[in-house]
Symmetry: C2
Subunit: 200 residues, 2 copies
């Protein structure tokens, strides 16, 4: 049985990274696809864990050699999904969490129609602005650009399979976990199990 690709997208500031971090603490049945990016490393980020950080030139080489499943350019930086790692994990039967931008998510759906698309929403736009400001790492200009970008990304939300609101972190983590557990129980994904029981 091959695993399920689970795509998680969210506007910047919605707490996607924190949710995924917490999720791994309560459910370790899946693998994590670490994206590659050409953007600068932020404080607290770890190369190979947060992202595979590359130069623009290195990233362009990966695109040229078809080593990324999908990629997008966002706020002047490349973001993409290294291909081989994902395919290996799926064929080993692991569910793979893919943390990617909305356009990348649409591309992944075309490559893996059986994938699950989850969009993480802020409880409200004013709350998203408050969170971006609270980070303290962004200029006013960047905050304005991220909010404008968030509004664009929200127009994709209805193309996703599930919407998870990150109002309360604990609830958002449980909600995302429920989505993944439920998807594993979809009858169409359980034909082997069903046959085993029928023939027992």
């Amino acid at each position: 049985m091959t695993g399920i690709p689970i795509v998680v997208s969210a506007p910047s500031g919605c707490g996607k990274d924190t949710i995924l971090e917490q999720l791994f603490k309560i459910n370790d049945n899946f693998a994590y696809s670490v994206s590659a990016t050409s953007r600068a490393m932020r404080e607290g980020e770890v190369n190979g864990v947060s992202y595979h950080f590359t130069t623009r030139e290195e990233f362009e080489g990966m695109i040229k050699n078809a080593e990324v499943l999908e990629y997008t350019e966002y706020c002047g930086n490349y973001y993409g999904t290294p291909k081989k790692a994902v395919e290996d994990m799926l064929s080993q039967g692991k569910d793979v969490i893919l943390k990617i931008e909305v356009e990348g998510a649409m591309n992944i759906k075309r490559i893996f129609p059986e994938c699950v698309l989850v969009f993480i929403l802020p409880p409200s736009m004013p709350e998203l602005e408050r969170r971006l400001r609270k980070r303290g790492t962004e200029t006013e200009e960047t905050i304005a650009s991220r909010l404008a970008q968030a509004r664009v990304e929200l127009t994709y939300a209805d193309k996703f399979d599930y919407l998870v609101v990150n109002g309360d972190l604990h609830k958002a983590v449980d909600d995302l976990n429920s989505v993944i557990l439920a998807e594993k129980m979809k009858a169409k994904r359980c034909t082997e199990l069903l046959n085993e029981i029928k023939n027992s």
Copy 2:
């Protein structure tokens, strides 16, 4: 916003009633459609709670007056879903758990295409037989008839949306709860919420 009809079917002996009983203890966000039946009340069952117990004549009157959403005859008894109660609960925004047989489930899907069909499976057929025998309330003939019926019902399982295996009761309850929580997060069911956030 109207609620979601959630149909739960299972072969006799799969622990459907126990699972639903436990589910109500951890999640009271839904309402329960009590089926009507013309079968005899079993020890421990309560009229209006376990089922609305009727005579055959009363049940046939309900069919005639279109007061049941669906009904089926099983082991010589009628089982059906009273219509008005379900429609009232759904229009009040409540998710309604419908505990019905496989053919009834297929009928409900035709009436409410947005409903969710959950099939509860035994971990194996020998284990199902062991559980039926353990009840101690059934004759050998009834056990054989229920096992044969279970095999027929299992042929419908792949027409359901989700399969929940009742190996460990606690896990089965959590699994069913995850399915319901996940369904509430389906993007197609959250258009109002999404618009509220977009316009906030």
